[in-house]
Amino acid sequence: MDLLRFATAGNVDDGKSTLIGRLLHDSRALLDDQLDSLRRESRGRGEGDLNLAFATDGLRAERVQNITIDVAYRYFSTGKRRFILADCPGHLGYLHNMVTGLSTANLAVVLVDVRHGLVEQTRRHCFLASLFRIPHLVLCANKMDLVGFGESVFADVREQFEAFSEKVAIQDVAVIPTSAKLGDNVVERSGAMPWYQGPPLLRHLEEVHIASDINQVDCRLPVQISLGPRIGAGRLASGHLRVGDEVVILPGGACAAVAGLTVACRPVAEARAPLSVTVELDRDVDIRRGDMLVREHNRPELRCDVDAMVCWFGAEPLVVGRSLRLLHGTRQTRATVSRLDYRFDMQTLGRQANPPALSCNDIGRVQLQSDRPLCLDRYQDNRATGSFVLVDEASNDTVAACLVR
């Protein structure tokens, strides 16, 4: 069975929690004791016999305030697929938590209240999904029951969305009319909307093609640890590796051939991303943490000047001259901001050139200078080796998610 990681984002009132509760409930992922506890909570809070929205929020503060603050992960499976759901907060103030959930997703589900259509926050969520190159996007036009399941209301939302999605780069988009509260088109096909010919949400999640979401072309193996002379271990970030392959060890540039390859101690002739492997080379070359094994004729760029889209979450604004710890795969170095090109205005999604600083939750294009060379791909070509994070050297907090341009 294969594995789909997806993230949900929506406004508090769009019915996101209800949708997730419905998905879990109708796919029988909520067990009897969990249902009992939901019923107790629903009655205790005067929310009827069973409010499925309470299935998602985990922290006491979230239950009290009725908001999502941090990502919660949920797990369920159908006969076809295993699912990992990252339920993300939709509020901009918790953007770092939303990006945490989005960064590993194959697919994003964005909810809109069909009565309100695409609001600013919806555009923002779609923009983020496109920025982070989530390969698949589903827009749920929710609360269809409140507009009498009318086709024209749905068509309006779909048109708004199609006009908007031309401006952002998303490869694969589906728009589904749902009523999470009543269960229409979540797991079961709706009888109330015969005009809708597409699949319900769960079937779409089961069938969306994800095998080519990961880069299978460019072999990149960041070395995590050396396990003996000529033996390195790491997880293939992209591409595949075969016994006999000639490889180059970056940044040093030494060449060797793969003499042996194992996956969890099982000898294999070939391994591909995202498997963790142990590689034995055929000759005495130095191989250590921070190195990257690649093919001779397919190399990332080795460079110290980095052009990146930076999502900044530090409490203090990011300004030119600021130094930070940079983590890229298994490589760590220090980097200094040399220029701020522009920042996105998250209200209009327009660009503001030459900003004086990036404030917390700002996203902008930044030039950095690193102390040691990095093996970089462009994020649009490789989500794994085209991304890095920045860490505050004083507090050790992770303060930025960065995408290589």
Binding site: L31, D32, G58, H96, L227, G329, V389, T398
Partner: protein
């Protein structure tokens, strides 16, 4: 090449996390209880570091209320793998006056073991504890990062978690802090059993159906008859065919009636189960936020 299964992907992710832990920390330890999650972690660690040695010891926080079968299994696994085992006892913490046993016939040492655990962290100078916690277990766990920072004092602050982008793990800790590392974050109970089956891992006999004298509480929960539990009014003792779904203390791990003996039978039983694993733990049933409260105090 054949398609990768979810177990292939989860195995690769866990091995990646274990290797990052070995590379980024000075003195990590793997928390070992003898349960299915920790035995899976040991199997994954062996696979992560061969032909090298396990780069960290196993740490068992012994409540003194263990099932004898768990200790027997622990020693068998240590002998078979050559792993270094450290044991720290809750009884020693109590004897030193740093914790006190609960009163009552269903007293548990669940809370007391947090003191022993945090004492071990400072005594041994540990900067990372690898735990078997899974996000599918419970709603506070569902929120936890793979690398989850514990400030000085050992507590978890769920509102100040470091964001975790992609699988770029930030292992930086300051003096007095330590990291909790969860390689099985994205595994479910069923995944763990399927992996045990696929890899033919040795498991404690408690997980297989066996005849046992059990105490049935008034709430209908079955607990193993043991010297640590006193019979209360309205409770009965009966001999049944049971197995355990979680292996913790004898005082709080409930048995379930079962005839599943082989791992295949166990997998089928869990796939069809209508109650969650934690629904059988007395320690989690105390309040809606029981796990969150214990975790902010430094619990596993």
């Amino acid at each position: 090449m054949t398609a990768l299964t979810h177990l292939d992907v989860l195995e690769a992710e866990a091995i990646f996390i274990l290797r990052e832990t070995a590379a980024l920390f000075e003195r990590p330890a793997l928390l070992f209880s003898g349960g299915k999650d920790s035995l899976c972690m040991v199997a994954l660690a062996l696979r992560a570091f061969r032909p090298g040695r396990l780069p960290f010891p196993l740490l068992h926080v012994d409540t003194g209320h263990n099932f004898p079968e768990t200790l027997e299994f622990r020693d068998r696994l240590v002998a078979a793998t050559g792993a270094e085992l450290l044991v720290r006892r809750v009884q020693d913490t109590i004897d030193a006056g740093r914790a006190r046993d609960e009163p009552g016939p269903k007293a548990s040492r669940n809370l007391q073991q947090t003191v022993t655990l945090l004492d071990a962290v400072s005594e041994l100078g540990l900067d990372a504890l690898i735990g078997g916690g899974r996000r599918d277990e419970e709603k506070a766990r569902a929120k936890e990062r793979i690398f989850s920072l514990r400030k000085a004092g050992g507590g978890w602050d769920p509102h100040q978690q470091r964001p975790e982008f992609w699988l770029q793990l930030n292992g930086a800790v300051q003096s007095g802090e330590h990291m909790r590392v969860f390689p099985l974050s994205n595994w479910t109970e069923l995944d763990v059993w399927q992996y045990i089956g696929r890899e033919r891992l040795d498991i404690p006999a408690l997980y297989r159906a066996h005849r046992r004298r059990c105490l049935r509480t008034r709430a209908g929960i079955l607990l193993a008859e043991s010297p640590f539990l006193a019979l209360e009014e309205g409770e009965t003792v009966e001999e049944l065919s049971v197995r355990f779904r979680t292996v913790g203390d004898m005082t709080c791990s409930a048995a379930m009636e079962s005839r599943a003996v082989s791992v295949d039978e166990i997998v089928r039983e869990i796939a069809a189960a209508r109650t969650s694993e934690r629904g059988l733990r007395m320690d989690d049933r105390r309040s809606e936020a029981a796990m969150e409260e214990r975790k902010t105090e430094g619990y596993f």
